[in-house]
């Protein structure tokens, strides 16, 4: 990705106001680019879900010195390939569940993802943080690519979680 070009990036705290500002900027920037409406919608949808995930799931910190800024960027690898990346801190004891979930989502094809979406939407309850458990499934459907992710250890209790989502702008 050495020739990649950052279109929009932000590092800092995420709250609803900041997310709205970033989404507004992203929309404006995409309008200025040569992207069709379908791909713009896919990218926008993924951004919303990714930033929503940070806002809803970023863990609270008892030890404030461990708090790292969350990160978002949107960049272009080539004329056809775009990436949305987010990074946030999570508790180590949540890693296994998250890893299992992403690996399961990555093991499914589009039909399988649609089936999983159907199961979760009919059986899932809204979490106390307002999530329906559909976010990652929705991101995977919109991306139509495997989700890339990695963790970086901060200490025994915390890690950073990097999620990278690829979108291909197929020319008609």
């Amino acid at each position: 990705m050495c020739n990649s070009k950052i279109i929009l990036s932000y590092e800092g705290k995420f709250n609803l106001e900041k997310i709205e500002t970033l989404l507004f900027k992203a929309k404006k920037l995409m309008d200025e680019m040569d992207l069709n409406i379908t791909i713009k919608k896919k990218i926008f949808n993924i951004m919303v879900e990714c930033m929503d995930n940070i806002n809803k799931h970023e863990d609270n910190f008892e030890d404030i010195s461990m708090l790292k800024n969350s990160y978002f960027d949107f960049f272009k690898e080539s004329e056809e390939i775009y990436w949305i990346r987010t990074k946030n801190t999570i508790k180590t004891n949540n890693i296994e569940q998250l890893t299992n979930k992403i690996n399961y989502v990555n093991s499914l094809d589009r039909k399988g993802l649609r089936r999983l979406y159907e199961v979760v939407i009919t059986t899932g309850e809204l979490s106390p943080k307002g999530g329906a458990g559909l976010g990652l499934i929705d991101i995977a459907i919109k991306s139509a690519n495997k989700l890339k992710y990695s963790f970086e250890t901060l200490n025994d209790e915390y890690k950073t979680f990097l999620l990278e989502v690829k979108v291909i702008n197929k020319k008609k």
Binding site: L16, E20, N36, I37, T38, K41, K42, F44, N45, V48, E49, D52, R114, Y117, E118, I121, T122, G124, L126, G130, G131, A132, L134, G135, I137, D138, I141, K142
Partner: protein
């Protein structure tokens, strides 16, 4: 029964439910800050409306238009709850159809409608809107 009219914002859809008219519509973007707070009154309204129709054995035909440009995954759960409520009314003898609009080429919105229609037992019509 009072109409339910909610104006759209950057993050929430427009809702026009007027009981004296046969067309009901929800349209726009949906990613409200508090999704439960936004959607629960809509579902409650539909519940009351449905009960009123069922109790008088209403024979009119009703159309519910879903014209979403976009909705986030948290909203999807509540849109499904709205559709389930409509199914409940339909299966109790009220004539109804759902029109699912999507922008030309927006296969994600089209497929989501198709998924919903597999779950919900109400006639669905898909309408592609040219760019």
């Amino acid at each position: 029964m009072d109409a339910l009219i909610i104006e759209s914002t950057e993050i929430s859809p427009k809702v026009v439910f007027e009981p004296e008219k046969p067309f009901f519509e929800i349209s726009g973007e949906s990613r409200p800050e508090n999704v439960r707070k936004f959607y629960e009154p809509i579902i409650e309204w539909l519940n009351d409306f449905g009960n009123a129709l069922i109790s008088k054995q209403d024979q009119n035909q009703y159309t519910f238009n879903f014209r979403f440009e976009y909705f986030n995954s948290s909203s999807a759960k509540f849109i499904m709850d709205i559709l389930k409520k409509l199914e409940d009314i339909y299966t109790k003898g009220i004539n109804m159809e759902i029109k699912w609009y999507y922008d030309e080429g927006d296969e994600d919105m089209q497929e989501t409608g198709e998924e919903f229609s597999k779950i919900i037992d109400v006639p669905f019509e898909y309408i592609e809107v040219a760019e």
